[in-house]
């Protein structure tokens, strides 16, 4: 029927055999793609969007995986029936992939030149010299300056965005007809993300490439794709032209995904008490990372600046957003306030006390008043402690609860963060990411702290879960009169939650202001870049 189609997938069904029985990862998925077309596959983690594409290329481990039925016609030939040798030729030669994490996809012990040349020698019958020339041309095409020189460097000498450019160059070396991009910008900073998206778009136009763009980010999909598939739990929920889906979503799930993309301002008024002295007053803070050299007795310590002369005030009841890209020093700033990282100079006055020069006894008391929520809910909970133990520990250590009352108090915390009381005996691995983050939040509010430092608490979560957790945070700040320093790289999240925003770049404070004011009239170029990088629907 569709002979002009480049790829035609029909009724693809992929299973995984697990200890708990069979799970259907992809259920009867059908889609097609013409040459030069961009297809976006959108879904949350576990929706089967990646598995479907990996299955096409024979890249899922079998067993436990199993392609139960379906056809995938590429130029009229079924990829799923192809012998391994022929499929290997298709991979890389006709269909290329780029992955999410540019840090792990390049071999750290090989020069970029060798890695690129290897690909060419594998697929094309050319000399080493020609291969090198071609590789340099490819690097220039993906916008790497000074490619002649840089090609002889090692991956660690490139930044994340640059590495992703190298990966794209590598994928395009063999001149494929179809490029599968699996969350290629998720691990990158927002401004870098915008550049990489623009690069993929222009390469796609110039080479008339077909692209399958897998993403969890509707904004990114909107920007990139002509057509879209929305997947949920292995099933296709909705498909059609991108514009149509964004303007008139017909399915409930698509609507939910769209509504989870935050485009609104903070729904409640600021609770900041402006007439009081600030709760937290950071003055001229300097934090460096020490790297040590020399012998044991004659150690030379060098400092790399993490935070450079930053001053911030937070009023009681205020939610302040701290925005910046990775390496801007925003996390370091948050950590140095509660002395997880030591500051070299400056003052941190919290509730009238000088936090940086507290003795050990007073530090314990002060830490009770400042709590932290971390980014990765998988790493921030002790895997060998039950939820009860995790939540009871701070209460018991600080003498807030006794053995007799601790159960009731833990139960109240569970109610507060919307978790079922019956889960209290379970271990962290038995929860989903969103539920774990709720546990981490419960732990942070257990001590009734005066200030919460939240370090990217929603960036590891799916969009719909992210919206729920943000709503929870907002609700809790009102209920318990919390003050919060909210660290994030995501401007839309900050806009939804924060009263005031502070922007950091390379360790320095760039701009600060009331949220809506800063969004409508940014003063600094860098802030404008950050705002422009928010994908628009």
């Amino acid at each position: 029927m569709s002979s002009e189609k480049l790829l035609n997938v029909q009724n693809l069904r992929v299973l995984f055999n697990t200890r708990h029985g069979q799970t259907v990862a992809v259920e009867n998925l059908s889609f097609s793609l013409a040459a030069g077309e961009v297809l976006g596959i959108v879904g949350e983690s576990g929706s089967g969007k990646s598995v479907a594409c990996y299955a096409l290329l024979g890249l899922i481990p079998m067993p436990p995986g199993k392609i139960e039925s379906g056809r995938a016609l590429f130029h009229g030939k079924d990829l799923l029936q192809m012998p391994e040798a022929e499929l290997r030729h298709v991979r890389g030669h006709k269909i290329a992939m780029i992955f999410q994490d540019p840090m792990t996809c390049l071999n750290p012990y090989m020069r970029i030149a060798d890695q690129l040349i290897e690909v060419l020698l594998q697929h094309k019958n050319i000399s080493k010299k020609d291969a090198r020339e071609k590789s340099i041309a490819a690097l220039i095409e993906v916008g790497i300056h000074d490619a002649e020189k840089r090609i002889d460097e090692y991956p660690h000498q490139f930044s994340g965005g640059m590495r992703q450019r190298v990966m794209i160059a590598m994928a395009l070396l063999a001149e494929p007809e179809l490029l599968i991009a699996d969350e290629p910008t998720t691990a990158l900073d927002v401004t870098v993300q915008a550049q990489i998206l623009a690069l993929i778009k222009s390469l796609q136009k110039n080479r008339n490439l077909a692209v399958i763009f897998i993403t969890h980010d509707l904004g990114v999909a909107a920007q990139m794709a002509d057509h879209m598939l929305v997947m949920e739990k292995g099933k296709l929920v909705e498909q059609g032209a991108s514009e149509g889906i964004f303007k008139n979503p017909t399915q409930e799930y698509t609507k939910k995904l769209l509504s989870a993309v935050l485009t609104t301002a903070k729904p409640v008024a600021s609770a900041a008490k402006l007439d009081e002295p600030p709760l937290l007053d950071v003055k001229h803070l300097q934090v460096g990372y020490a790297s040590q050299a020399g012998t044991f007795f004659n150690r030379i310590t060098r400092f790399a600046r993490g935070v450079d002369d930053v001053s911030i005030k937070i009023q009681r009841g205020e939610i302040v957003g701290l925005v910046g890209e990775s390496g801007s020093g925003k996390s370091t700033l948050g950590r140095s306030i509660i002395r997880l990282v030591d500051a070299q100079a400056g003052e941190v006055t919290f509730n009238g006390k000088d936090l940086l020069h507290l003795a050990a006894d007073n530090l314990k008391a002060a830490r009770r008043d400042v709590q932290m929520i971390f980014q990765d809910p998988y790493a921030s909970l002790n895997p060998r402690m039950t939820v009860f133990d995790t939540l009871a520990e701070p209460l018991l250590v600080h003498g807030i609860a006794t053995k007799a009352t601790v159960l009731d108090q833990v139960n109240e915390l569970m109610d507060d963060v919307g978790l079922d009381r019956r889960f209290i005996r379970k271990y962290p691995h038995e929860f989903s990411g969103g539920q774990r983050q709720r546990i981490a939040i419960a732990r942070a509010i257990a001590l009734k702290p005066k200030l919460i430092i939240a370090d990217e608490p929603v960036s590891a979560l799916d969009v719909t879960i992210r919206a729920q957790i943000l709503a929870l945070l907002l609700e809790l700040t009102q209920k318990h009169n919390l003050t919060m320093l909210f660290i994030s790289h995501d401007m839309s999240v900050v806009r939804y939650l924060c009263d005031r925003v502070v922007v950091m770049q390379k360790g320095k404070l760039v701009e600060e202001g009331e949220t809506e004011q800063l969004f409508s009239a940014p003063q600094q170029e860098y802030t404008r870049q950050l705002l422009a990088a928010i994908p628009k629907l």
């Binding site: 200890r19 708990h20 044991f296 950590r335 509660i338 997880l340 530090l363 314990k364 008391a365 002060a366 830490r367 009770r368 400042v370 709590q371 932290m372 971390f374 980014q375 990765d376 790493a379 921030s380 909970l381 002790n382 895997p383 060998r384 402690m385 039950t386 009860f388 133990d389 520990e393 701070p394 250590v397 600080h398 053995k403 159960l407 009381r421 019956r422 209290i424 005996r425 271990y427 691995h429 038995e430 981490a440 732990r443 001590l447």
Partner: protein, 296 residues
């Protein structure tokens, strides 16, 4: 809402830490581990009651008999001096099991604490502590033992001391490495920011998370300690004939292996069975202590 049923199911877990209790429950479900535990307990029981149940006295010789193959009177045969092999293995188990368990326990305690403290505190403390470990590693073991014997004479206490002094070194290194890799995880930072004391962080958050490799290494240490004892006894530290241990029986058996194979086979077999039981129990413990491994 569902308060009543919830309250009831929660009554149980107020005693003891949940992990220990859960781990015991899970261990009891593991058949191989329970078999291993049963065999070990059986061995310990035998060693405790040896003086009353042994068929002969451990010093009773029968030079006329000499080395004889297993028979009705001597189930596991006799050695070159005509001593009953079964009796010697039974008495040997008293020494060997005691050395195995006590010396390993000493090594385990010192090694885990030393490694965890060095790894967690880091910096200069870590450097000093680990250089001490390196220095002890570098000490020639044989000379160290001979020195000890010369100064203090031969005693069981010294035997534990000597074995403990070498075996904890590797344990400390393993634990330190593990601790360094997990101490940067956010749950440890969360514990710090909650104001927990370093000791509580080490004991509640770090050590439970390094138990896997520690248990595996422990089950390997016990048999090697049992064999090490025979080497020390050979140097004059530890036990002297006619008292026996599995290690000394095995090394004696090796010398006469070609003429009287049963003198090697039976003590070797007993040690092998012990080793297997320990490994099964160790694997069971490791899985039981890891909440992620045992839910299926």
């Amino acid at each position: 809402m569902s308060n009543i049923s919830t309250e009831n199911s929660l009554q149980k877990f107020e005693k003891g830490t949940s992990l220990t209790r859960d781990a015991i429950a899970r261990l009891f479900k593991n058949k191989m581990a329970m078999a291993g535990l049963f065999v070990l307990l059986f061995m310990v029981a035998i060693s405790l009651f040896t003086p009353w149940i042994a068929p002969y006295s451990y010093e009773e010789q029968n030079l006329d008999l000499g080395a004889s193959a297993p028979s009705a009177a001597h189930w596991l045969g006799t050695d070159t001096l005509g001593r009953d092999q079964l009796t010697r293995i039974m008495y040997g188990s008293r020494i060997s099991l005691m050395v195995g368990f006590i010396a390993t326990a000493v090594a385990l305690t010192i090694g885990v604490l030393w490694g965890a403290i060095a790894g967690y505190l880091g910096g200069r403390v870590d450097a000093v502590m680990m250089r001490i470990v390196d220095a002890l590693y570098a000490l020639p073991f044989t000379i160290f033992i001979i020195l000890l014997t010369v100064i203090f004479g031969s005693s069981m206490l010294l035997l534990f001391l000597a074995i403990g002094a070498v075996e904890w070194l590797t344990m400390a290194r393993i634990v330190r490495g593990q601790v360094i890799s997990i101490k940067r995880q956010e749950f440890v930072e969360a514990a710090v920011s909650m104001g927990l004391s370093p000791w509580r962080i080490i004991s509640r958050h770090l050590i439970p998370n390094v138990l896997g490799p520690v248990i595996v290494y422990t089950t390997l240490t016990i048999p090697s300690v049992i064999l090490l004892e025979s080497f020390l006894s050979f140097l004059g530290l530890g036990i002297q004939p006619p008292a026996s241990s599995w290690g000394s029986l095995i090394s004696g058996g090796v010398e006469t292996m070609e003429e009287y194979p049963w003198l090697l086979i039976f003590p070797g077999l007993v040690l092998t069975v012990t080793l297997f039981s320990l490994n099964f129990l160790g694997d069971g413990l490791r899985d039981a202590l890891d909440p992620r491994a045992s839910k299926d």
